[in-house]
Symmetry: C2
Subunit: 113 residues, 2 copies
DNA sequence: CAGCATCCTAGCTGATACTG
DNA sequence: CAGTATCAGCTAGGATGCTG
């Protein structure tokens, strides 16, 4: 699941646990508190059920996300940030601000103008 | 090359330009000043020539890296951070520190203990 | 030295259908 | 509601050899 065994720098390690197409988005959605599976699926636009599960399982395995199962019918599961997840989110904020500031530029690159 | 056309948050946009297996590492190597192609290849352990070129071209296209060609024999090319690249590096520092602090944990996850 | 061309593959990702 | 199972495609990434 993780790509490397050893890391050359901390950035490398951080990107290994939260990099990829979806993980940062999922963590971001959990900032405001626990979310149920279905909520997450709607919030993280474009993700499929299958991929969301896979990503959540990986985040859980890394200790970034906690999965709380309520034994009910119908079933209810809540995902939330762990303390480690919280600390990671905080570390990602400057990067988020950078992206915010340069988003137009990046989107224009994508359009090729 | 970039994965998305629109972004739901800045973090999303930032990860689109510097995410992936190598880009952050490459940017990191350029912090201390310009590097020649061969130097980079040795610094970024494990990367192949082909992939290094591809990544550098993408970083260049995003305006994060500058490519300076010296018309010599044998050829010499130097890669350096642009101002935008510098600002991105700064935004990545907290994430790098987070990774630094939790690297042992992450590596232990990878080993499965 | 820098870097392109070619071929190849692993695994991420997506679509769809089904279950407790 | 919260998943699992299955199938299939794409593309990032890797190996190798060649060139200005």
């Amino acid at each position: 699941m993780l790509k490397r065994r050893t890391y050359t720098c901390g950035l490398d390690a951080a990107l290994d646990v939260m990099g990829g197409k979806w993980k940062a988005l999922i963590l971001w959605e959990l900032i405001d508190g626990p979310q149920r599976f279905g909520q997450l699926r709607r919030q993280v636009a474009g993700i499929s059920e299958r991929v969301l599960i896979l990503q959540l399982r990986e985040l859980e395995a890394c200790g970034l996300v906690h999965r709380e199962l309520y034994h009910q019918v119908p079933p209810k599961v809540e995902y939330s940030l762990t303390d480690l997840g919280q600390s990671l989110i905080k570390a990602m904020i400057p990067l988020g601000e950078w992206g915010e500031q340069h988003m137009e530029l990046i989107e224009s690159l994508d359009r090729g103008d």
